[in-house]
């Protein structure tokens, strides 16, 4: 048991921090947000040059064979500056789906393109009726000739507006909620029959509602055996939980830092407001929540490759619920302790607040995971 980073991991963290420190001041971030896609293609190329976009992929697929810890370090860095690029969706979610689903031809075609920054892929799985249930898929895929025809709709597809390709889940068999009968397909985002309605999420990130009407794909578009994709989808969600846990920890670190700075400098009644014990204790409780959240993000990073599925499921439910509570506590109090300025669009803390709120509602919120854990109490 140890919590030490290897020399390579330390170097990775340093290079991520160095890149982001220069490129992600809050003012520069505003400029990226104002770009048509809400993120910076130029910066994306720099991520690629640094090797970040291929980090979790095998070397023969243009990657560096990184694991959960490496992804944690990158996501934490991205969280600290509230980076807008589609790292989570393209590298973590879609990358995990491609890696685990096992279609070797698609892996060698697509993973190097992701790693080089030439292609972003959105993970188009959620549907409007599904809320957080991963097996609630109504989109269908029916055989036609040697290929498939996909019909259905996907909801709140993060970075689906700007992605070059989509990984789409669809039913090849079974009824709604049946874990069996779900398949994953790679679909060109501009294919005939794909319609995307783009919008921004509360945190400024791009997203889309996507309809698929008679979208024809070849047999080689199938990521893995038809109907057997549910375990992969679960792993993708776990990878998302681990990555956003780390991102939330990064965001909490910045909120905590900003809040402490504010408490030390803001003067009222002739002294810094941080001299008030009520605020000191609140700040301490934020520190406790942050560190408890950090512990869970570390747990998640070490759990992504755990072979025992039941053990993974239980731990990830705890991670998501625990980090969700911590992030909600830290972000609500960060705004509260800032007072009026914390409520404004022009001040950074509210942006961190909204990113944490979006993270909480991704991959199942606190209540969703707590009730799942509650079912399993034995």
């Amino acid at each position: 048991m140890d919590f030490d980073l290897t020399e390579e991991q330390r170097l990775l963290r340093e290079s991520v921090d160095r890149l982001l420190a220069d490129t992600y001041t809050f003012e520069k971030r505003k400029a990226y947000l104002a770009e048509p896609e809400g993120w910076s293609r130029a910066l994306w190329s720099q991520y690629a040059e640094l090797g970040l976009l291929g980090l979790p992929f095998a070397e023969e697929q243009g990657g560096f064979g990184g694991g959960g810890i490496e992804t944690m370090l990158v996501m934490q860095g991205l969280g600290r500056v509230l980076a807008l690029e589609p790292y989570l969706t393209s590298v973590v979610l879609s990358g995990t789906a491609l890696r685990l689903a096992g279609n070797a031809a698609l892996q060698s075609e697509l993973l190097p393109q992701i790693a080089q920054g030439k292609l972003t892929i959105a993970f188009a799985h959620g549907e409007r009726q599904a809320r957080y249930d991963l097996s609630d898929v109504l989109t269908t895929a029916k055989r036609k000739g040697g290929g498939w025809v996909i019909d259905g709709a996907k909801s709140v597809v993060t970075h689906g507006d700007s992605a070059g390709k989509l990984i789409v889940s669809a039913r090849t068999g079974g009824e709604r909620d049946d874990p069996k009968g779900i398949a994953l397909f790679i679909v060109d985002a501009n294919a005939n029959g794909v319609a995307r309605r783009a919008y921004r999420l509360r945190d400024g990130m791009g997203a889309a509602e996507i309809t698929l009407a008679g979208v024809e794909v070849g047999r080689d578009a199938l990521l893995s055996e038809a109907g057997a994709a549910y375990p992969v989808i679960k792993r993708v969600a776990e990878a998302g939980i681990a990555a956003t846990a780390a991102e939330a920890v990064g965001a909490m670190e910045t909120m905590q830092k900003m809040t402490l700075e504010y408490l030390k400098t803001r003067q009222q009644f002739g002294r810094p407001i941080g001299e008030n014990q009520a605020l000191q204790h609140r700040a301490t409780e934020m520190f406790v929540a942050l560190e408890q959240g950090r512990s869970l993000a570390m747990l998640a990073a070490m759990m992504v490759d755990e072979p025992d599925a039941a053990e993974r499921q239980r731990n990830f439910a705890m991670v998501k619920a625990g980090v969700g509570q911590a992030a909600r506590f830290v972000s609500q109090n960060a705004v509260q302790l800032h007072g009026g300025i914390g409520m404004t669009e022009e001040y950074a803390v509210g942006h961190y607040f909204r990113r944490c709120m979006v993270i909480e509602h991704s991959f199942g919120d606190t209540g969703y995971h707590l009730s799942r854990l509650a079912e399993q109490v034995a």
Partner: protein, 400 residues
Amino acid sequence: MDLRFSAEELAFREEVRGFIRDNLPDDIREKLQLGHKTDKSDIVRWQRILNKKGWAAYSWPKQWGGPGWTPIQRMMFLEEIQTFPAPEVNPFNVTMLGPVLIQFGSDEQKNRFLPRAANLDDWWCQGFSEPGAGSDLAALKTAARREGDHYIVNGQKIWTSTAHMADWCFCLVRTNPQAPKKQEGISFLLIDMKTPGITVRPIISIDGEHHLNEVFFDDVKVPVEMRIYEENKGWDVAKFLLGNERTGIARIGKSKERINFSKQKAKEMRAHGKPLIEDSEFRRRIAALETELKSLEITQLRVLSAQKANERRQDPLTAVLKLKGTELLQATTELAMDVAGPLAMPDWADELDALSNEPELGPVWATEATRSYLFLRAASIYGGTNEIMKNIVSKGVLGL
């Protein structure tokens, strides 16, 4: 970064578990399983069994009769003891006085007191708090006046746990009332509780039990060689003592034991026509507690991992262990009490002690669950209140 314990560590945990299973006397095991409290003789008997194995002074180096364990081994030992559950070793002897003697004591003091402390031949208590010195410990007034080769001690201590069963007391006393800073005039004395002039008066706590005492000192003669470290440097010793207790501070094993206990009993109790364990609200409460406990467990491992590199570094995460650990300990004892439902109300402590032909009372565990709940309201008070801990963090860690 790796969560897995080494094969040696896992084997060690099995060894501890096996030793407790094979050596904890049946009557003590039964008491604890039923939720009865243990008494002094149970603890003495068990600690001597552990000491024979060389484990009682679990945090001490080999040289002074401890096992010389790593921080991880200590954590595993404590957790096994707490979850089994077996009685915990006397903390005043083992985690408080022992390390102080090892760090600051003379060879003579070490040789005289350490083996007896490990074997619980002497039962120690801690004379720190006073009526006017609680959170503000350095305001203590109990005076020790030097007369030849003795100190003459006068004053009063309060909240002295187990003073009524103690053979010795380690005490903070004021040896220089004129010191410019109140911390600078304090000394650390070892006082034999049989010395003339000591009066112990019980304080009954809200659990109805006698753990706490007032201790009065009236011209109590203490030989100068019973002073630890230098005169007027007792505050350094006290700070060491209070900062030393890190591994066990979160008491995760105890919280786990309370959750396991609650689950077990919730199978016997009913709610809405079915076993309480099937009640969704109850299950959710457990899920939430287990989630917090999980993250505290990882936090504790982070502290231990850092300790491996630097044994005596002050780690700000210790504050998280104390604050969250006590909150969870209190929340889990609250859970166990709530499982009892209306049976949480009766105070059967005296009735259960006596044999009787009257209609049966029970279950014992219910009245004991409430006792434990009431007793552990003190967990966020003793050793420095959680509010004082928050003051310390906000100044020392957050720079406010």
